[in-house]
Amino acid sequence: MAVPVAFFALFFAYPVVAIVGRGLKDGGRWQFGRIGEVLSRPEIVDVLWFTTWQALASTALTLVLALPAAYVFARFAFPGKQLLRAVVTVPFVLPTVVVGTAFLALLGRGGFLDELWGVRLDTTVWAILLAHVFFNYAVVVRTVGGLWSQLDPRQEEAARVLGAGRFAAWRRVTLPALAPAVAAAALMVFLFTFTSFGVVQILGGPAYSTLEVEIYRQTAQLLDLPTAAVLTLVQFAAVGGILAVHARTVRRRETALKLVDPEQTARRPRGAGQWALLGGVLLTVLLLILLPLGVLVERSLDGPGGYGFAFYRALQSADASGSTFLVPPLEAVWNSLRYALVATLIALFVGGLAAAALTRRAGRLVRGFDALLMLPLGVSAVTVGFGFLITLDEPPFDLRTSWILVPLAQALVGVPFVVRTMLPVLRAVDGRLREAAAVLGASPLRAWREVDLPLVRRALLVAAGFAFAVSLGEFGATVFIARPDNPTLPVAVARLLGRSGELNYGQAMALSTILMLVCAVSLLLLERIRTDRSGEF
């Protein structure tokens, strides 16, 4: 417990409190009056209003589009299911710079809708909402679908035998069991869309701004720390509220449900209705997820002399006539892998210890800590990044110019995923096994190695995979940390997009495609390892 607490105190709470304090303190005195002053400005009210309603709308739309898919993934067996599940998760870890480009290509002029019906959605709220669905589809499919696949369908059938109609049976039996998972997924989607940054910045144009975008603008562009501090506090309060509700629903979900092996519940679709449902879901996935991803691949191959791998070849050389990098852009792949590996190890170490501590103890305080570990998911990257700057400036922690800061920041985002994946599994380990081993003379270490480790190894691997994928795609914090020049993949993509010229643009698309593939492969490996599908992500 001490290690994760210290880790969060030092690398999260302290920097965030310090930067907020810098904004709210004047001559050593707190100026809480600034809160009211900032919040009464009309443009800030607009931002708050837009942030809230677009997050609500995004969440609703995501649920509407993804819940049928959760059902299909849970109840139907069809070829390519595993691959498809990995594919729908890819967007979740893609950097928004890349996705924004793909969505503009689809929804903007000359895009898919424009060609067919002359409809253009760029710089409308629709583009933002659809991109949010793209990103968060997997959250619903995995959270709800995971549980759904383990619910015994015979319970519903029993209700129908007893005379309940199809809908009544579903409403009385399945829905109550499912509701907490749906609520948990909805809250996660709400959290991610409430704190949306890149999507809103790129697709919304300058007219729309979320809290997160505004915090970035006030901090990084205007250096108006008081305003940024107030907005950070507001976001903090909102995220804290969301997490508190989330923690409650998760606890409700952990109440005993009769779970069965998902293999038994899935079967081939029967009848026209079920085939139509499957077809509808596949079509949604195709239009909403595969199409944007496909646009990136297509553009990465569309070279000056027709389709080919010209841009990929260009990635291998640091062009002598002047290049965006000192090193071949392909080296960004190795940088990313290295950073992500270190971040994963840190996240596993800290998150594993936290999960272990949370399993062993109960009580209000521990539950609070559980929710606290999720906070980094909802706090703006620029706040953390700038907080690092003013706190980690003294030995032994003058880490501001050290490469380790990048994996540390990435690990902050990875830890919640590790905890959430490990916790259900660790809680399921029967303590009596451990005690039995101890009675038989095993040392605590041996008992852990022989009893716990084999049981949690899979969960550990799954957690590692998520932390790894999240670290690979992390962009926000990484970009605000001073780095010796070894850019990560998302930073390299952003930098290539920041230059004119065909070769740069093509290489950005090629690098994005590589990032996508690396993510897809690591997720596919996870699918093979994964047995317990009750994890939340």
Partner: protein, 364 residues
């Protein structure tokens, strides 16, 4: 920090250190020796666009014995603001990348120690905006100008616009895309250009007319140039429909350089009457650990070696008179004779006000 907390904290750090090393093996960036004595390494802090050839940095080491360590952190605005936050306890010795639109913010915060770089007499006088105090040294200039898609105007048999006034003509209705002046530096530059051209009383009126003539505003340069501008490589793929974009005078040469095969003519041109001049500066950071190295680096930044290397790495113009421009620039670049300028202190005083009224006029 209490003792117990300190111990815990140190234990965490030690554990993390072990994990990290296990993961990274012998990583070449862990040059911890460079931090302590610091005498042989000089650290340059900059934004993400900084770039220099390896050979040139090597030449500096051979000349002076100092090795340059480059730290990049975000775009120009973010990098500068981070420097201001760490004032007095800087992360490096020299900061490069504050331009004339933000210069006052840096100077008012007392970020730099004065130093008169060797060879400053070769630098054009109009670039020396802090000539009496030498807190900053000018390193490069660049012009923010409207670029046009040559093919579009040739096909339509229409002359491309040349001046701010031209952009208001009905012939160019719905053709221009620009960036948000509040978040993008070319966007801000273009706004300042109109302030210079029409004055504080006239620029709002100009933008009203420009809006009526269908100007489109997007958030950043990337979207404007790659997604909206029909003349760029990205824009051609995206079937973009705006043949006019606010970009840089150096964009056409870049379009040539990064094309395969290289065309004999740039696909885009520059409306030279719409330019705002950006000047980028470097300075010795107050509290620098390696002051001597920092001074040597400042001298080096305006040396001929560095200045001639710069154009093809950062696509900006040298500030010294004896630097030769690469052929790519002389052949495909535009010469901007009379760029618009606004004095840094006037920008500092009014920037927020101008941007705010611009936003309420154009964005909302």
């Amino acid at each position: 920090m209490s003792t117990t907390k300190k111990i815990t904290v140190t234990a965490v750090a030690a554990a993390l250190g072990v994990t990290a090393l296990a993961g990274c093996g012998s990583s070449d960036e862990t040059d911890s020796g460079a931090k302590g004595s610091g005498s042989k390494t000089v650290t340059l802090v900059s934004h993400d666009s900084f770039n220099a050839s390896k050979d040139v940095l090597k030449a500096f080491t051979e000349e002076t014995g100092y090795t340059v360590k480059v730290l990049k952190s975000g775009d120009a605005g973010a990098a500068l603001n981070q420097e201001i936050l760490t004032k007095g306890s800087p992360r490096g010795d020299v900061f490069f990348g504050v331009d004339n639109t933000l210069l006052s913010r840096a100077l008012d915060n007392g970020l730099f120690t004065p130093y008169e770089a060797k060879g400053l007499d070769r630098v054009a006088a109009d670039a020396q905006l802090d000539a009496d105090k030498h807190r900053v040294t000018p390193v490069d200039t660049g012009d923010i100008c409207v670029n046009y898609d040559k093919k579009y105007f040739a096909d339509k048999k229409l002359d491309p616009p040349q001046s701010f006034d031209d952009l208001l003509k009905p012939a160019y209705k719905d053709l221009l895309v620009t960036e948000n002046a509040a978040t993008s530096s070319p966007g801000l530059g273009f706004l300042l250009g109109t302030v210079a051209a029409y004055g504080e009383d006239g620029y709002e009126n100009y933008w009203k007319k420009l809006k009526d003539n269908g100007v489109k505003v997007v958030d950043g340069w990337e979207q404007a140039y790659n997604d909206e501008f029909s003349g760029s490589a990205g824009g051609r793929k995206a079937k973009a429909d705006r043949p006019l974009v606010v970009s840089y005078a150096s964009s056409p040469p870049v379009e040539v350089l990064y094309a395969e095969p290289q065309p004999t003519e740039a696909p885009t041109g520059v409306a030279t009457g719409t330019c705002f001049r950006q000047i980028e500066f470097a300075g010795l950071l107050d509290g620098a650990k390696n002051e001597a190295g920092g001074k040597a680096l400042l001298d080096f930044l305006i040396s001929r070696t560095f200045q001639e290397d710069m154009p093809l790495n950062m696509f900006v113009n040298p500030v010294v008179s004896d630097a030769k421009l690469p052929e790519l620039f002389t052949e495909f670049g535009a010469t901007v004779d009379k760029p618009a300028t606004v004095a840094p202190d006037r920008i500092a005083e009014n920037r927020e006000q101008w941007v705010r009224s611009w936003s309420s006029l154009v964005v909302k």
